[in-house]
Amino acid sequence: MVPSPTTDSNARRERRRERRSRMRLKNVSLAVLSIVAFVLWVHLGSGVTVFRSDVPAEPGWERFRADYKLAYFGDDGQFVRAVQNGYNLVFHTYKYAPRFTRKVAGDQVSACSSCHTAEDLAYAFVNSDRYDRKVGRRVSFEERVQRCYAGPMDGFVPTIYDPAVRDIRLLARAVARHLQLSEGALRGGR
């Protein structure tokens, strides 16, 4: 029996629908897979730290953490993580604040720690917000950090809210706490 033209066209339409539905499934699966692959790559393979909630431990961090008893400071891990980020920013500035400095690993001055120790920062913190004769006005700790990025670090100014500024203040505060400094403390004591 010869199939009527209507039956034939119906069968073709049915086949097309099936093919389309298979294609849609394939496309959706491909899209989902691409997204999952991208997320996995970003978190595990890219090395882009901005997507990570933990802070990479650089050499010297554990020693620093033990020296300044950071585990006992603050009642949560968030503060310690911020201080750790501050540590990375201060000791490996070129690596952790590439947006704000043009310095690279080989440069003589490539990090805040090339000029300052952590204790310098603590004393600077408790002596900040004071009149600066050179600048001609009162200068906050945040502005000092911004000036360092723009000047000696040969880079650009982060905003006052930026973690690249905030976490250095937290590091300074943590060290000041360990040294039991109070406002206006003088180096060497008096």
Partner: protein, 365 residues
């Protein structure tokens, strides 16, 4: 007009407008700088506070309070003229946020009233003793919201916001919620000067960075610190009438007499809003803690924990402004309650009409 001429006119207007804004900004900037350089007219309470702590120009600062309390001299970095003026302005803002004692509010208080809705709220209502409350013997008092002690504990994790909350952001929250107002810029002088004053207090009291002191913040009172009778509106109302109404008014809307503020509003349009930590339904432990340790003035620590919770519960059930994140419906409802309830209450209980305390109360602000 020719199309080209029209374009040129348009460009000219734009350039003029932009130039006008630039000149205005430059003028305001210069004005601010001029205010920074001008000698400060210090409020009497601040004169007393700052001279007691010997704030003077010098290379070194030695706090007489520390000498008196510990018998040792601690030498700190001294203050320059600019630093002293900033501290004085900060103290003024704390003591007289609304500028009632200022001749030019906008210049002398950095327009602090721009960031506050209503005309009652001042920092020193909560941070009593201009942020440094002490008893007659000079002992700092537990749960008295000392801002010097807050400075040394700033930047720590804040369980209400989930942030490492910097001191400046905390001040912003005070403006937004406790004063039911608006957020100043983080680098605004209104914030920076209060920070300078707080830091000076921490130097004068020799507080160490990162240490917790009893006078910092609130001595919170949880339900578990009470007899567990539950927080009761009726008991709270009775206690309010007995202990608080004579200063804060029948409906807790605050009292003004002879143009002066007798006591600030605890409810109504001049009070803190529903997103403030003082609001019982947001944080139930803070307002009771404040009441127990700081109220009634002169009789602090006389109320029991249960009484403080009852009063706080009662006050928080009175109408007050909605918070800025609660949306227009809640805001409208609260406005309605604040407008409609007071006359209705006056109508239903005329015997309890407010009795303004002309000249009989101590000035709060």
């Amino acid at each position: 007009m020719q199309p080209r001429t029209r374009t040129l006119v348009k460009i000219g207007v734009l350039v003029l407008a932009a130039g006008g804004f630039y000149l205005l900004a430059a003028h305001k900037h210069a004005q601010r700088e001029e205010v920074r350089q001008t000698a400060v007219s210090v409020t009497p309470a601040c004169v007393e506070k700052l001279s007691r702590y010997a704030l003077e120009r010098g290379e070194y600062y030695r706090s007489p309070y520390v000498v008196q309390r510990t018998g040792t001299v601690s030498t700190r970095r001294g203050y320059g003229d600019e630093d002293i003026r900033a501290i004085q302005r900060g103290c003024n803002i704390m003591d007289d946020t609304q500028g009632r004692q200022a001749t030019d509010v906008s210049r002398e208080r950095w327009n602090a009233t721009r960031f506050i809705r209503g005309n009652h709220a001042a920092c020193s209502h909560c941070h009593q003793g201009i942020g440094d409350k002490q008893d007659a013997k000079g002992n700092r008092l537990k749960g008295s919201l000392s801002i010097g002690a807050s400075w040394v504990m700033a930047d720590m994790y804040d369980r209400f916001t989930g942030l490492l909350l910097p001191f400046e952001l905390r001040q912003m929250q005070c403006y937004i919620n406790s004063s039911n107002g608006y957020k100043p810029n983080i680098a605004d002088d209104v914030i920076r000067d209060v920070t300078a004053y707080s830091r000076f207090l921490s130097a004068a009291l020799d507080l160490k960075i990162g240490n917790h002191y009893d006078e910092q913040g609130i001595d919170e009172i949880a339900a578990s610190d009470t007899l567990k009778q539950g927080d009761d509106y009726v008991r709270g109302e009775a206690l309010y009438k007995h202990k608080c109404m004579s200063c804060h008014g029948r409906q807790a809307f605050g009292l003004e007499a002879n143009g002066r503020l007798v006591a600030p509003a605890l409810a109504g349009p001049n009070a803190w809003n529903m997103q403030s930590r003082n609001y019982f339904y947001y944080v139930s432990t803070i307002l009771p803690g404040f009441i127990c340790r700081n109220m009634p003035l002169g009789q602090e620590n006389t109320l029991t924990n249960q009484e403080c919770r009852d009063i706080a519960y009662y006050i928080s059930n009175l109408p007050r402004p909605a918070g800025d994140r609660q949306g227009p419906i809640v805001a409208l409802k609260q406005q309605f309650l604040m407008t409609v309830m007071p006359p209705l209450l006056r109508l239903t209980s005329p015997d309890d009409a407010e009795k303004p305390a002309h000249g009989t109360r101590e000035r709060v602000q």
